[in-house]
Amino acid sequence: MDYSSTARARTSISTQVYLIAGLMLLLGVGALWLFVTGITDALMHRAAGADFGAVLLRYLHVNGIILPLIELGLGLYLIRLAARFLRRDLRAAMWVRQLLLWGVVASTVFVVQALGSALATQMAATEAYMIPVIGVILALTLTYAYLWIGSNIEKFEGQETLAESSARFAWNLLVPTLLVLVFVALRPLEKTFIASLTDQRFAAGADAEVNFVGFDNYAKLLGVRWDLVQCTTDDTGACAVDESGATVFPRARDVLDETYRDLRYREISTWLTLGGTKLIFSARDTNFIGSIGNTLMFTVVSVTIELILGIFIAMVINSKFPGRGLMRAAMLVPWAIPTVVSAKLWTVILRDNSSGILNAGINLIQRTLGLPEESIAWLARPETQIIAMIAIDVWKTTPFMALILLAGLQTIPADIYEAADVDGANRITQFLRLTIPLLRPTIAVALVFRTLDAVRVFDVFQVVLAQKQYSMATYNYYTLTNSQQLGYASAVGVVIFVIILLFTVAYVRILGVSAE
């Protein structure tokens, strides 16, 4: 054994360990530094006399909410990892190696992107190529560190369990998606939430002043109240009655306390009338409260019908019968037609007078039965408008439901039906006792997804009803485009998100779509 070379090898190994641990430490401290400076900056502005709202808004605009959390978490994690790496912990080494690999990938992407923009802008060569060159050096350094750990892994102590290596494997699969999720989904959501705390306007000039208004937008959006209103009395002290015999009530804003008028509450509906007293329901934004009602009604009814029809269709296309191939394909067709086209098509079908084919059909039946012909103005009356929306959605989306359920039917083993046949169970018992319970996980997926989609319904409402009646999403859209209230519209978006979240939590609890 050549002792000197072993000794040299050991020192060089230590150097590299120190270098890599140092790099991790540096990155960790850097992340924490960013986190801390964000806070100290805000504190300094507060000390300089800015009011709390302005300071908070500034902090949120500069840092956001997610970024500081990532900085804090990543910083602490990297520092701990560096310490464990220094102690020659094998598990830490495996994770460091993993992080280095991601670093290599990230810097390569960065180099490609920077090169692309350098070529596109045709800046002066030296300046434009500085950034890609730095990226290449970084990528090469990280690659070296990665390879070094790989070839010196035996110098580290401890052992990685199967569970730990599978955890690392899983994170590898998920990291790219999560990064994209943060950028295209969570970050916009965060920006929306921040905007909802302000009175910002859409497409206003860059110098337009933006004020922090706290939760005012939400208070206005969700402000509802119930009040008891006494009838107008006549001379005798009894309730006044109009010509048709109905009790006369005063306008709510004339008799209730001042806040009712000042906050611009308006009556939506009467819930209960008892003698000379009625219970009325009012809201500050009647359109939005109405849109919540419309959307919930639309969601519950259409998803229920789609589920029932979907199970039926899925079972039909899962069974053998003559002409099934064509039937299977044909049943899916409504779903393949672009929504904009099918919505337009339905406006023709549902037209008010008998040029609409639905009314023509109804008239035909009425004529055959000898009844007077009456057309229904499907798209003009509030109560039939929502029915029409439900009909269009059911027509279009049931095939989609059926497809998901069909895949679920494939996971049910056939032999249990044979066993049930032998035991003499009839078809209905088999359906209720075998098919439905075994299909439950798939039903859960279908329900969750359809509900999330239905609560966000936009295009059908927009094409067919425009501003006659709102869904939550179309209300969101029109507050943004028509009245330009970005802050207020953002609050609408956040409320939609929260409502969908509540639905999802309920489903997860009830149907057991556990994350485990």
Partner: protein
């Protein structure tokens, strides 16, 4: 036996069993209900066809003309003359193909991670991913556009294709649920036989998930084929337009050319229809074939 456990020959609740006396009534009832549902689904479709071949004078007759007279098929070739419809078809097929490849790669890997591997933070990550399904689409629209325009991707197919390679929350959810229904004994048996994690994924989980993968293909196809908003926002050059965007040429601001709109829509429905026809065989009984082989 492995094959027996998961074998699922084609069978169903509606008429696969030999016909007994009461089965006949079940079938009569079944076919009756089937016909009603099918008619309800087909009626608007018939209206599309008849509108496409009607003369403009007959379009808004009262009462509506059920059978077009005269039947005029000239709208179909006209669709190709008025706009570069063939070009739109090719463009859309390119985008759809890239999306399908992207989703097949990303969704299967990520769903496998969520369905078959245990790791700390799994539930939290899964919920974060699900929460992206809860964000109203219009909320993310503007920030997304800003992101892509900063990258210089406007008026290219990149914003319409690259995101597919990072997965889609809904499809991941779907495939994960499917993969979770595959017995875990299979993985363990394979690990004992010395298979790697990727080997288990490639040789066992993926073949057994075939119906779910067909769903990924069908959903991606239809979703991308009909996507209107994203091409509208990201594409400016009419030569790069997709079919659904091209159809909007027939909907003027003042009047809609119903003949051409319906003829174009029908033509646009043919590729998904062909796909359904091919896919329906794969969607059904995919497991049994693979299970018996292995």
């Amino acid at each position: 036996m492995l094959a027996n456990r998961i074998a699922r020959p084609e069978s169903g609740a509606l008429g696969s069993a030999p016909l007994g006396k009461n089965r006949v009534w079940h079938n009569v009832f079944g076919y009756g209900a089937l016909l009603i549902v099918a008619a309800a689904l087909m009626l608007p479709l018939y209206w599309m066809v008849s509108t496409a071949v009607k003369s403009p004078a007959q379009m808004f007759e009262i009462p509506p003309a059920w059978i077009p007279n005269p039947v005029d098929f000239s709208s179909f070739p006209k669709v190709f003359q008025e706009v570069p419809f063939g070009r739109f078809l090719v463009n859309t097929i390119i985008i759809v193909a890239l999306n399908i490849v992207g989703h097949l790669v990303s969704v299967t890997l990520i769903a496998y991670g969520f369905a078959r591997l245990r790791f700390p933070g799994r539930s939290v990550l899964f919920l974060i991913m699900l929460s992206t399904l809860m964000i109203p689409y219009h909320v993310t629209l503007v920030p997304r556009f800003i992101l892509f325009s900063k990258l210089g991707w406007i008026n290219t197919y990149l914003p319409l294709t690259v995101p597919a390679f990072t997965g889609s929350a809904f499809l991941i959810f779907l495939v994960r649920q499917y993969m979770m229904s595959i017995p875990f004994d299979l993985d363990e048996a394979a690990y004992i036989d010395g298979a790697s994690r990727f080997g288990v994924f490639w040789r066992i989980i993926l073949p057994l998930s075939r119906p779910a993968l067909m769903l990924v293909i069908v959903f991606t196809f239809v979703g991308t084929w009909n996507d209107f908003l994203q091409p509208l926002i990201y594409l400016n050059d009419p030569n790069m337009f997709t079919v659904s965007l091209g159809l909007s040429f027939f909907q003027g601001a003042r009047e809609t050319n119903w003949n051409l709109l319906m003829a174009g829509s029908l033509l646009a429905t043919i590729p998904p229809l062909i796909l359904f026809f091919i896919a329906q065989r794969q969607l059904i009984g995919g497991i049994s074939i693979e299970g018996l082989k292995g």
